[in-house]
């Protein structure tokens, strides 16, 4: 967790890929960090893929890389991404890496660097999204686009206003639903943005015990709930995500109490839907993550391997499904619950 003395603050250095600076988004970001050292690089991979980087140390002083994304701009759904039953599901990665540091996250082992890469050529992404809407397989359903997949986009909205731009884009389109999944309490950054039916804000909620143990550098539960309430008041579509449900000692008791308190604290009838998942991670990412941060107990549990993805045993997975379904059914109709 962030407590290291003598480390530079985040974004003390901004690396700028050749050609990135001309984009309005890059100009806007650079303006927000007048004191940052600007270092020009031929390609973002020169710095992002350097050998010999220490992910854990970089997390204590993250830097920003501004780059220009080359195609593809959209990706098909993966085995570890929830599509909530939508058929035309794609995701995009305007930002690589995350301000937060959840120990169960695949980002712990995915990239060689902890620095953030922001792709400045937003219009290319929007164009790709427009094309994907036209070419979607099932024309009876919208294109569902997850824009906060390799990151928590709302958490960095203060420095990189991606969410605002994507919401503005989605508001002008038809047949698209963008999902912005977050743990952020920074709802205020969207206070002047008009809610739109094409945008779904998904808050990942966990018991405070789990937040403290695994969701490093994220806002506490009460602040996330505040954000959820504000979003509902403003009229946003809000999804609740219980993903991953972590198998900690007495997890049923901990999650039971957490859900009871949660449904007291928010107007649950206004929630759009709920998704539930369990810990899962690509085997190679898991091994790399364990090597990087070997002091986290997640990396010493017994998991089952299925199609290169490690996850809890089928038996415990079933227990989680049964338990969560029983709890959620008290508040949601079955078609609004997606359990993974």
């Amino acid at each position: 967790m962030k407590s290291a003395q003598n480390f530079l603050p985040d974004f003390s250095h901004i690396y700028i890929e050749d050609g990135a600076e001309k984009y309005p988004l890059a100009k806007d970001i650079i303006k927000r960090f007048p004191k940052a050292e600007k270092i020009y690089i031929p390609d973002y991979k020169t710095v992002f893929n350097r050998s010999g980087q220490d992910f854990i140390q970089q997390k204590k002083s993250m830097n920003l890389i501004l780059a220009v994304k080359k195609p593809p701009f959209l990706y098909e759904s993966t085995d570890i991404l929830q599509d909530a039953g939508f058929e035309n599901f794609v995701y995009t990665t305007p930002l690589l890496n995350c301000l937060y540091n959840c120990q169960y996250c695949f980002l712990q082992g995915m990239y060689p660097s902890a620095n953030l890469v922001a792709f400045a050529n937003e219009d290319d992404f929007f164009k790709a999204a427009r094309n994907a809407v036209l070419q979607r397989k099932n024309k009876n359903q919208p294109l569902v686009l997850s824009i906060s997949y390799n990151t928590d986009l709302l958490a960095s909205e203060n420095i990189i206003p991606f969410c605002r731009h994507w919401i503005e884009f989605a508001s002008t389109q038809s047949d698209i639903l963008i999902e912005i999944r977050t743990k952020s309490a920074l709802f205020n950054v969207l206070k002047n943005v008009k809610p739109h039916k094409n945008v779904l804000l998904g808050w990942t909620l966990s018991p405070q015990e789990v937040i403290e143990k695994y969701e490093w550098d994220t806002p506490p539960l009460d602040r996330r709930l505040n954000a959820v309430r504000q979003a509902l008041e403003k009229g946003w579509k809000v999804r609740l995500c219980f993903d991953p449900v972590m198998i900690i000692p007495q997890w049923q008791k901990v999650y039971g109490r957490f859900l009871d308190e949660l449904f007291e604290a928010i107007p649950v009838d206004q929630i759009y839907d709920a998704v539930v998942g369990v810990f899962r991670m690509n085997k190679d990412f898991f091994q790399r993550a364990r090597k990087r941060e070997p002091k986290v107990d997640i990396y010493y549990k017994d998991y089952e391997l299925n199609k290169s993805v490690l996850s809890i045993s089928e038996k415990v997975h079933e227990e989680v499904k049964t338990f969560m379904l029983e709890k959620l059914e008290q508040h949601f109709s079955l078609d609004l619950i997606d359990i993974w």
Binding site: N6, Q53, D297, Y300
Partner: protein, 275 residues
């Protein structure tokens, strides 16, 4: 406390440092010597690419690099309009003039030293260096290229003191010594920062743990898979309980006479470590 390996090109760049920290001369080989006291080591490579490759490469081959931070310090040419003679700079990008390749140190700690980029050239620059951005020197790129095989990038620190405005080659001891000496207090604060920072992470298993693991493998005649599983269990035990597992030394006195015995003991150890 972290170990610091200070690399200079010229002996006159190293002299004030050797004196300040009372480093003693030691021999790496007949032709290669260095200076050391406690947690500071100083090696002079000689000027230019060839010397660095030969001497630094040979030296690092035999140095236990964990817990070490490498600092390259030396004089460099600067631009009149953007640098000041006698000032120390921290280098944030190194470009090799020869290959065009860029090297990027990972600057994570607050040093308070102004930052600038640098180009490593093969010949001294005396024409004002119009075409170069930032400073020029003759070794940094090859030091980085050689050292990155041994160190993580955030443990490579490049400090350059501007000695001229790329209008003369300045390398006599009479010229270099005062420039270095005037910056010793700044260097000292960086050395203190680097030595005491948490920038170098201790591995989960220390030397004692590793030794015990090796001894157990030998005594119990474990298979490769069992060795791997045991290491995994021990790491988990330390990670979760942050505890001492010296109880395992009891197994060092056991004699294993069959595969069955080995499996039984192995299972027993794993159960204890998982409990």
């Amino acid at each position: 406390m972290n170990h610091l390996l200070i690399i200079t090109a010229l002996q006159s760049e190293a002299e004030p440092i050797i004196k300040q920290y009372q480093l003693e001369k030691k021999h790496h080989s007949e032709k290669l010597f260095y200076f050391q006291r406690e947690r500071i080591t100083c090696l002079t490579t000689g000027v230019g690419e060839k010397n660095v490759r030969k001497r630094l490469g040979a030296f690092l081959q035999e140095l236990a690099c964990s817990n070490t931070i490498l600092i390259n310090i030396g004089i460099a040419g600067g631009k009149k309009d953007s640098s000041k003679i006698g000032t120390m700079y921290l280098i944030n990008k190194i470009t090799s003039d020869k290959s065009g390749k860029a090297w990027l140190p990972d600057i994570l700690l607050k040093t308070g030293i102004p930052e600038v980029q640098l180009t490593t050239v093969s010949k001294g620059v005396t024409d004002g260096g119009e075409k170069y951005k930032g400073l020029v020197d003759m070794e940094a790129a090859v030091i980085f290229e050689t050292a990155v095989e041994f160190f993580p990038v955030h443990c490579l620190v490049f400090l350059k003191i501007v000695s001229d405005y790329m209008d003369e080659v300045l390398d006599s001891p009479e010229q270099v010594l005062p420039i270095m000496s005037n910056n010793l207090s700044k260097l000292d604060s960086i050395i203190t920062l680097m030595q005491n920072s948490e920038i170098v992470r201790a591995p989960l298993l220390n030397e004692q743990h590793e030794r015990l693991l090796t001894d157990l493998n030998n005594t119990l005649k474990l298979t490769e898979t069992q060795t791997h599983q045991l290491k995994n269990k021990i790491e988990g035990y330390i990670a979760i309980k942050d505890d001492d597992f010296s109880f395992l030394s009891n197994y060092l006195h056991i004699e294993i006479n069959s595969k069955q015995e080995r499996s039984k003991i192995f299972y027993e150890i794993c159960t204890k470590l998982s409990s």
